[in-house]
């Protein structure tokens, strides 16, 4: 940072700037939400007035299934085959049960299936998702919706 001339060096005090930057970093670190990576935010969810915010967050385990308007399963922005994906997730969920429970093929799995489906998806495609989940022992479902119109166009 020499400026020639008389050879004086300007040394600004960087400490307040560093303080401010660290405060901003702390803020963003606290609000970052890695869960949203599993959500396909391009989906247009239906609007249902009585949809309640999630209350049991952190207690149960969830499996988020994004269903686009053509009825395809989207996981981490990739179209994924439904059957093979559910098979692997059911195996993971079954491991959380005791040995005696896990041996029962009709046991209810502890995972809640969170369905985020586009409002234009046909019931036929959605029902396929429900049926495949039920076949593998998933019983608890949570259907996602906005409780007011999405402000974005």
């Amino acid at each position: 940072m020499s400026h020639g001339g008389d050879g004086n060096t300007a040394e600004p005090d960087l400490t307040p700037m560093l303080d401010m930057v660290f405060q901003l970093i702390t803020f963003f670190m606290l609000v970052i939400n890695f869960k949203s990576a599993s959500m396909d935010l391009s989906l247009k969810l239906p609007v249902v007035g009585s949809a309640r915010p999630v209350e049991n967050e952190g207690i149960e385990d969830f499996l988020v299934l994004n269903v686009n308007k053509t009825g395809e399963l989207v996981i981490y922005n990739q179209v994924t085959p439904l059957e093979s994906y559910l098979n692997s997730e059911a195996r993971v969920s079954r491991r959380k049960l005791s040995a005696a429970e896990a041996s029962d093929p009709n046991v209810e799995l502890p995972t809640t299936i969170v369905i985020r489906a586009d409002k234009a998806v046909k019931f036929k495609d959605l029902n396929r998702v429900f049926t495949e989940c039920q076949k593998r022992g998933f019983r608890k479902f949570s259907l996602k919706a906005f409780n007011m119109e999405d402000p974005e166009p």
Binding site: I25, S36, L41, K140
Partner: protein, 177 residues
């Protein structure tokens, strides 16, 4: 090393200066990362359901008040289940809704229709005096999710005659014609 420095400072009066620029560079890089990846997630609600695999039922008898229901014979299989048949038009909107055997709605679903269905279901579950404890939706495969969820929401809100939340809620797909 620090004691040596301290000693040196005492002797020569030198000051140790940390190079903040490097730390600031790194902090700005971190800040840029967090700003670029920051995406506030929208506030979403949910409708929680417990859905065992459905067993198809048909409406065994018309909907009737409790005094008439009591006078009837032994309960029939599927008697406690109210069947709602939902048909859709080609664009996925509601075409007709039949409650048991009684047509209730016709044409695309409007906010008033949802309230009408809610009132009707409340009447059925209250008047039937415990006759019904379950709802099964028979849904047209063409129906869009938006309408389906609105109907599920109304059904999930119902309470049985003893004041408990209706838990037996299921749906099956109508065979396409």
């Amino acid at each position: 090393m620090s004691s040596r420095r301290r000693r040196r400072r005492k002797k020569g009066g030198e000051e140790v200066k940390l190079n903040m620029a490097a730390m600031l560079d790194m902090a700005f890089q971190l800040l840029t990362f967090f700003i670029m990846t920051f995406r506030p997630s929208p506030i979403e609600g949910q409708i929680a359901l417990n859905l065992p695999p459905p067993i198809a039922v048909t409406q065994m008898r018309p909907i009737q008040p409790s005094d008439q229901a009591k006078s009837d014979g032994p309960s029939l299989p599927g008697f406690g289940t109210l069947v709602i048949t939902v048909k859709a038009s080609d664009n996925g909107e509601l075409q007709s809704l039949v409650l048991g055997e009684r047509p209730l709605l016709r044409g695309a679903l409007r906010p008033g229709d949802v309230n009408a269905l809610d009132r009707e279901l409340q009447n059925i579950f209250t008047l039937s005096g415990g006759t019904f404890d379950a709802i099964q939706l028979h849904v047209d495969p063409k129906l869009n999710y938006s309408t389906f969820l609105a109907l599920m929401d109304v059904c999930a809100r119902q309470k049985t005659a003893d004041g408990k939340k209706l838990e037996k809620l299921s749906f099956i797909e109508l065979k396409s014609q």
